[in-house]
């Protein structure tokens, strides 16, 4: 007769049960020869596979081939590379968080081509773009991952100097995915993170001590829209189009007035 706990024993072996169930199963396996044998067999298989069967790493030729293919790809998208004078930041779409680094310059050229607009020079703009780009690197995006505004908002009070408006706009296409603390203008600013299609939008907020920044700016292909509510300065940063960013800004402005 087959033990009814075999499936749970496998889940235990794979680290898929909580501590209480784990203790249960360990106790059970002391009594049950069938589950003991299963666990032993699973261990043998795992040991053998992890020792001998990896098929190793992608060969250097494949790295080179893919880098070349990505360069070709961006070359098609950006026939006329555009160079910006002082640009030091590479522009990356969201996926580049997963593949950080490769073909970055080509992507910069591709995106700068679409967003080439005059922008005032300001250390704040540089800081905002730097913070946005940094957030797209693996595991820098979110400190508190939640789609619930009632989880994200209280988190800020312990970690930042401002309490920004936090709301989810999934219905309108802007999904709240979490929050983050960042350092801007010599203070701990709050960043609310939204996902819009494949794009990430960072909404920065900090207590405004400086005169108001321009309403609208772009840097290295990133669009920034500034607005102010009371004494809190907001700035939304993303690589979306202006209208898409503006829609979120309007939603946030409406939310902070209700």
């Amino acid at each position: 007769m087959r033990c009814a706990e075999l499936s749970r024993s496998q889940a235990y072996f794979d680290g898929e049960v909580d501590a209480i169930s784990a203790a249960d199963i360990e106790r059970h396996a002391e009594q049950c020869a069938e589950c003991r044998a299963l666990l032993q067999g699973l261990g043998q298989i795992r040991t053998a596979i992890r020792r001998d069967m990896t098929h190793g790493r992608a060969p250097p030729e494949l790295h080179a081939r893919i880098a070349h293919a990505l360069d070709q790809e961006t070359a098609i998208e950006a026939p006329r590379p555009v160079r910006r004078g002082q640009s030091t930041w590479r522009v990356r779409p969201f996926w580049a968080g997963a593949f950080g680094g490769i073909a970055g310059t080509a992507v910069t050229a591709a995106l700068a081509f679409f967003f080439l607009l005059p922008s005032p020079s300001s250390p704040l703009l540089d800081d905002l773009v730097a913070a946005h780009v940094r957030s797209l690197m693996p595991s820098h995006l979110i400190d508190v991952a939640s789609t619930d505004q009632h989880t994200v908002k209280p988190w800020f009070s312990g970690h930042t100097d401002v309490s920004p408006v936090v709301a989810d706009f999934t219905q309108q296409g802007y999904r709240l995915i979490g929050g983050r603390a960042d350092y801007l203008e010599h203070q701990r600013s709050a960043v609310v993170v939204y996902q819009h299609g494949p794009h990430v939008i960072n909404v920065f907020s900090w207590a405004a001590s400086q005169p108001r920044s321009p309403n609208d700016a772009s840097r290295n292909g990133y669009r920034m829209i500034f607005w102010k509510v009371g004494d809190v300065q907001y700035c939304a940063v993303s690589d979306t189009g202006r209208e898409e960013l503006l829609s979120l800004v309007r939603l946030l402005q409406d939310a902070s007035h209700t």
Binding site: S7, G41, D52, H55, F99
Partner: protein, 166 residues
């Protein structure tokens, strides 16, 4: 530089069972990811990329099968792998094979694809059930039963093939 490229490559190797095909599949998957055809779901880039690898593999595999059903004479190559794939395991040759790694490699390759992929994702890529469910696009319960079947088959064949078990 490309995180998860190694994982993508290993997974493609196990799916396609041929280094050349695996290279093509990985390249296609990375380009698809780059073009943003498949939006990143959640924040788990590894599962996301492996799911794209899997889609690219099944697309390529279907194309190969279509070609195989209506072979053009000049395309026909006796070295095409179908005879090899169809080859049945030979217990006698397994028992004389002293190279455990090669035996294990062969036994894993002989598993049905839906069993092989969950085993590889669990044991080699160290993904959890939920992530495996995302990559293979089946419910977690199915992941668990396929994993159990894969392990049972592997263990049984290994035990009959090699004296003294694993």
């Amino acid at each position: 530089m490309l995180p998860h490229l190694d994982a993508a490559y290993r997974f493609a190797r196990w799916l396609s069972r041929s280094p050349g095909d695996a290279d093509d599949v990985v390249q296609e998957a990375i380009l698809r990811a780059f073009r943003g055809f498949d939006a990143l779901r959640g924040s788990d880039a590894k599962s996301w990329l492996l799911a794209i690898v899997r889609n690219c593999h099944s697309t390529a595999h279907r194309q190969q099968q279509r070609r195989a059903f209506v072979p053009l004479p000049e395309e026909h190559d006796p070295r095409d792998g179908y005879a090899m794939i169809a080859a049945t395991p030979d217990p006698e040759s397994a028992s004389i094979c002293r190279d455990n790694a090669r035996t294990l490699d062969r036994l894993m390759s002989e598993l049905p694809e839906e069993h092989r992929e969950v085993l590889v994702l669990r044991e080699i890529e160290d993904l959890g059930y939920r992530e495996i469910a995302t990559v293979t696009n089946v419910p977690i319960g199915t992941v668990m039963s396929r994993l159990a079947r894969a392990r049972a088959t592997l263990k049984a064949r290994w035990s009959t093939g090699v004296e003294g078990g694993l």
